[in-house]
Every structure is written in C-alpha cells, then in structure tokens.
C-alpha cells in the first residue's frame, strides 16, 4: 500500500475555506471572555457551520452528505482544534455518522444540537458544553448517539476548562461495542487534538520571536529554540500519524492499533506542547489574560473524550496479548 500524505489541491481548498471561516469567526481571544458562558460564539455560528457542510462532510451522497472521505473530514477537524473550537462542533460531525435515517437530516442542518459526553470509570457520564444540546454523543469504548434527556437530570459542575460548561449524570445503560464508527470518531478527535498541538506551537514560536530579554529575542536562545523545535516535532509526528490513518482507514487490519497510536500521539503532543507554551511565555504564561492556559485546559479535555492515554496504550498493544 502506497500512501501520499500531501493534501491534494481540493483538500487544501477545503482546509483553507473551513480554516478561514473559523479564524475569522472564532479567534482564540474570544475565549478570554467566555468564562462560565459556554461556547456562545460557536452556538451563534451553528447554522453557518451547517451551511459550510461541516456536519455531513464525510457522509456519502446517498446519505445526503458531500461525498468527501475521512481525509477531508480529518482536515476540517484539525482546523477546529487550531481555533480551540468547542468540542460540540466535532460532536455534531461525529453524530452525522451515528444518526439513523430519521435523525440524520436534523443533525446535518444543525436543527438537532449535539455535544460530547464521556463515560467515566465509575459509570458517571460527563457532558461537555451540552447546555444547548438536544443530543449527546456518548463515548467510551464504543460510541452512541442518545437524546440528552435520556440521562435524566444533569448536575452542573465547575469545569477545569471554564470556557465550556460541564455537567454530570449517571449512565443510563451500556455502550455498544467499539465499531468502525467509534474508531472514526476517535480519529477525528485525534485530528482536532493535533490542531491544538499545532496552535500551541505557533503561539510559542510567535512569542519567542518577539519577546526580548538580554537584548535579543528569547527565541535566539537554544533553551527556548529547542523547546519550540521539540513542540514542532511532536505536532508533526501526531499530524503525520493522523493523516496516515485517514488514508488507510478500512484498508488494513491495523486500524484499531494505528488510530490508538494517533490518539496517543496527538494527546501527548497537545498536552506537552501546551505546557511548553506556558513555559516559553514565562510569568505571562501563568496568568489568565495570556491565552496559553486555554490550550492546556482544552488539551486535557480532548484527551479525556471517551478515553485516556492509558486506554489508548492498551489498544495499541492489544493484539500482542
């Protein structure tokens, strides 16, 4: 099997149009005001995102989709990560694959609203940015699309990532076994997580090129330069693996292992790069007014979407049992 990982002209165009729209509508700076308010800019943008075709992008035309494949969908998911878009946007993309024929049109039009929820170890379900949602994409080992009210009452919690809301409830039943759709969703999460890692790198590099100490930009010092280089390498590794999976999905027997590797690498890159970005920013990086902490909190949130590094490690090694 031979894989070309360079985007085609078409794919580049899709990434640019999604990325351009997101960068204009959802600058990361919006999140400074977002504390406790949930993802209001995203909510206001929902119909535009639906019009852009984001919510049916990877569906075949006979299901009302655009007939693009996983590579295109993956590129769009990465763009979402770059602007730290609410996980609910990705949940809506995921839901299009889980919905039955009856519900799918409402998902694609944005009329039904989705949010991600994770099944915790103890049976607690954690809902992220779900205040406006009618449906929940529940992630554990498998994935399911359920009405939000299937869980009874949600109890609001104070989130580590205060730019989105958090609530919990008790699990209503068992999740279906992990299938191809769950794998696909996991890869999209890995793609968005990679976007977070790339954006943290860009922010650190930008600052290191401007901030002066000892009479020169701190990026000229190797301690900072090498930290930035390591960020770029981690992001590149995750990105290459995510792209590889997007192309080979469904064509090898190694999907589960390869996607678990993608998820592990993306999580590692996002969290480690977010930490390094805070460090590069020094005292400013520790403040609430610097955006650096937003990347860290969002990276942890994405790492916990139905998974953890420990669980991905188990999947990576599972066939060796």
């Amino acid at each position: 099997m031979i894989v070309d990982l360079e985007p085609t002209d078409d794919q580049r165009l899709i990434a640019e149009s999604v990325g351009g729209m997101l960068a204009a509508s959802l600058p990361v700076a919006r999140l400074r005001e977002a504390s406790g308010n949930g993802a209001q800019p995203e909510n206001a943008l929902w119909s535009s995102l639906a019009e852009l075709g984001l919510f049916g992008m990877g569906l075949p035309e006979e299901k009302g989709g655009f007939g693009y494949g996983l590579p295109e969908e993956m590129l769009a998911a990465r763009e979402l990560g770059l602007v730290l878009a609410s996980p609910s946007v990705l949940a809506q993309m995921a839901a299009a694959h889980l919905a039955d024929d009856g519900l799918r049109p409402a998902i694609m039009s944005g009329e039904a609203r989705c949010a991600f929820a994770s099944l915790g170890f103890d049976g607690t379900v954690w809902l992220y940015d779900g205040d406006a949602a009618s449906h929940v994409v529940l992630l554990g080992d498998g994935a399911a699309l359920l009405p939000r009210d299937a869980f009874g009452n949600w109890t609001a919690q104070v989130p580590m990532d205060e730019t989105i809301t958090l609530a919990n409830a008790i699990a209503a039943g068992d999740l279906p076994a992990r299938d191809n759709v769950a794998e696909r969703i996991s890869l999209l999460i890995a793609a968005a997580t990679t976007g977070i890692a790339q954006a943290a790198t860009a922010m650190a590099v930008d600052f290191a090129g401007q901030r002066e100490q000892f009479g020169q930009p701190i990026g000229s010092f190797q301690a900072i330069k090498h930290s930035c280089a390591d960020m770029a390498v981690r992001a590149a590794a995750a990105d290459a693996q995510v792209r590889y999976c997007a192309i080979t999905f469904g064509r090898t027997e190694d999907d589960r292992r390869e996607i678990a590797a993608a998820r592990w690498l993306a999580t590692d890159a996002a969290i480690e790069n977010a930490k390094a970005n805070i460090q590069v920013h020094g005292g400013m990086g520790f403040t609430a007014e610097c955006d650096a902490h937003l990347f860290l909190k969002r990276a942890h949130l994405f790492s916990a979407l139905g998974s953890s590094r420990r669980e991905e490690e188990r999947r990576i090694i599972a066939d060796a049992d």
Binding site: S220, Q241, I247
Partner: protein
C-alpha cells in the same frame, strides 16, 4: 492525501521482492574491517549484475533511475528481505556519487560512477575535524596550490569505514584569507597517496568503525577539484542525494522490527518471582505500547517526508524532523531492550547482540548532525526563529 493505486507499482514490488529473495546474501555480515568492506562490495556487485545498482541515480549515469515511489518500494522490500544496509558503500552511493553527477567533470564522472555502481570502489567522508564538528566551517586542513597540485596538510576525524576506502570526499581550506565559508574546496582524495595515515578509532561498541586521518603534504592533482576552487562549501551543502528521504525507510523498518521482537521476547520471558511474563507487567506493556506508537509515528513522518520529496526540487530543512525523531527514538528503543531484559541483556554475542545494538544506537543522535544542531535547524529554518550567536 490519497492512496496511490497503480498496478504497475504492484508489479514492480513483486519484481523487487522476487529478486531480493533470490539474491540477498545469507551469510553473516562481518562486524568490521576489511572483511566487512569485502562483504558490502560483493553485495553491491550482485545488485549491479541484477540491474539494481544506484536505484536513485539517474539512468544516464548508470543508475536504475527509480521514481521516488519505486525507491520507497525498493527500500521497503530491501528491509523486509532482511538485507543489511550497505554501510561501507554508503558515502559512495548516497553522497559522493550524487555530488559527482551534479558537480563533477566528465572525466571524474566516467572514472568513478561506474566503479561505484559495480562495487569496485568505496568512499569515505573527510569533513569533520577535531576543531570542526558541528561548526564545520571552522575546518583548518590546508591545501596549498603548488603548480598543478594541491598540497594537503592537516587532519580529519570521525571518518566511517576509512580503512580500505579507495577515495575520500575531502573538504580543505584553499584560502585562509577569505571569509570562512568561502575559502573551502571539495576534492577527490585518493586514499593510497603518500602522506596519508589512517588511525582507527575504537567506538564505545568496541569496534573500530571510524578513524582519524592525518595528511602530511599529500599531493592531490588539481584535476580532482570538484566544482570551483574555493567553492567547496556550496558543493558540500548541495550534496543532495536523489533519494528524497527514501534512504531512511530501511532503518525505520529495522527499528519497527526491533520493537516487535522486544514485544515477543517480553511475552516469552517469565519472571520467576511472579510466574508471569514480563509483558503481563502493566508498566512494561505501557512502555512497549508507547514505543509501538512512536515507531508508527516515525513510519508516518517518513511517508510524509517522501510525499513532500516527490514534489520538491531541493529537499527542505523539514527533513530534520524525521531525522531527529529517528535518532532519539532509536536510542529509546534500544535502551528499553537493555532495561527490560535485565541481566540477560548484558552478554555480547549471539544472533541478537543486544549490547552492541544498544551502544551503537547512540550514534544516530550524533552523526550527520547532532540532535542539538537539528533542533537549531528546525527552530531557525522551519519555524523561522532568530539565529543564535555564531562565528562570522
């Protein structure tokens, strides 16, 4: 991003596989010295006779002239067939040969290119010096023009496979008064010339794979100059392989195989205290899982690099990313082997000489550009960060 489906490439893969299956040497490769050189040259000769010499070289110069994708397939099949990378032929095939093709005179090309392809001559590199390692432009080995000869005095170091090498790609300072990058020339040095002394250096593995070389008024004909006098820095920096990143595929596959072997070994090795396999230990399984993920990432980074290489005229600085990743990961993988197998990993010898592989792995984060220099290059030339202090 797409799957390349081309039946002619499938047929090509079958052709590679069949030929390699029939022709890869099955006898053990000697560890060092002239026996190793003879082994590598004989294998090169076999490849030449089979029509597989210089897979990345243009056809006009006797190479196989494979496309980047065909090279990718060749190197994958090469590693899968268990063929060893031909270390003593490396400089000739991947460095000196391509440099001569681009920069050499007609006479230089006709003299050396066929001989390299046939496995009749091996080359070594003469770039680094005791005082010029990462800072290569600090090199001091002098070449004074005397009539139609260059008279070379000085020393080179870390020269791999220097013992028995026929020729050397040698960087010398031909004008000490010019700015340091400009007074350098690239010459072909015949290693049998009088005044050359090769002093082997034993590495931490215990083998003498490289050497320091001393030049005492060695007379090299001016006709051996490649490119312009004082233009050697440019020649050295444009010493581009035609491989576009495919040459590292074999190393990457070997590393993946090492991880898979380690997983198998961990399953088959029992801890007497617990009665369980090493693999049943969650900490061991976790470490192996991470290595497997990282080996997958290395494969994907390599594929990404080759995909870029298909479109680039000149390979960019991005090539440092997979190279840095490979160097660091190789050390982690081989370090894990030693860690996990405990007392049993301390003995040298046997079919898997674990200490040798472990000790050898340190070179990948040093040779050909240290990890630190690669991080500088990524920082400055990929990310655009300001340059650090350096000599003019």
């Amino acid at each position: 991003m797409k799957l390349i489906e081309d039946p002619s490439l499938d047929r090509f893969r079958d052709e590679c596989r069949a030929w390699l299956n029939d022709n890869v040497p099955r006898n053990a490769r000697p560890s060092e010295g002239l026996e190793l050189r003879a082994y590598d040259m004989a294998w090169q000769r076999t490849q030449f006779e089979g029509g597989w010499a210089g897979v990345s070289w243009p056809k006009a110069f006797g190479g196989r002239g494979l496309s980047v994708l065909e090279q990718l397939i060749w190197h994958e099949e090469y590693a899968r067939a268990g063929a060893r990378t031909s270390a003593s032929m490396f400089v000739a095939l991947s460095h000196a040969g391509p440099t001569l093709i681009v920069q050499g005179s007609e006479d230089q090309k006709s003299r050396h290119l066929p001989a390299i392809l046939k496995g009749e001559e091996t080359w070594c590199q003469g770039f680094s010096e005791p005082g010029a390692g990462s800072d290569l432009a600090a090199l001091k080995t002098r070449a004074v023009i005397d009539g139609d000869h260059l008279v070379v005095s000085g020393t080179k170091i870390w020269t791999s496979y220097a013992q028995g090498a026929d020729y050397q790609e040698l960087l010398v300072r031909t004008d000490p008064d010019l700015p340091r990058h400009r007074g350098i020339s690239w010459v072909i040095c015949d290693m049998t010339l009088p005044g050359i002394e090769v002093r082997p250096i034993t590495t931490m593995t215990g083998y003498a794979h490289f050497a320091q070389i001393f030049y005492d008024e060695v007379r090299i004909p001016m006709t051996n100059l490649v490119g312009q006098l004082n233009g050697g820095w440019g020649v050295a920096m444009t010493t581009l392989g035609f491989e576009r990143g495919t040459g590292t595929i074999a190393h990457q596959i070997e590393l993946a195989n090492t991880v898979e072997r380690l997983i198998t070994t961990a399953k088959e090795t029992y801890d007497r205290a617990t009665g369980k396999s090493l693999f049943a230990d969650a900490a061991v399984a976790s470490r192996l899982a991470v290595l497997r993920a990282e080996v997958a990432a290395l494969r994907s980074l390599t594929v990404a690099s080759v995909s870029r290489g298909m479109r680039e005229e000149i390979p960019g600085a991005e090539g440092n990313i997979p190279a840095l990743y490979f160097g660091e990961l190789t050390r982690r993988v081989n370090g894990a082997v030693i860690d996990l197998l405990g007392p049993g990993a301390m003995a040298r010898g046997g079919s898997h000489n674990l200490p040798k592989a472990y000790l050898e792995s340190f070179k990948w984060a040093i040779g050909g550009g240290t990890s630190e220099i690669r991080r500088n290059t990524i920082g400055e030339r990929v990310l655009g960060l300001p340059k650090g202090p350096r000599a003019i």
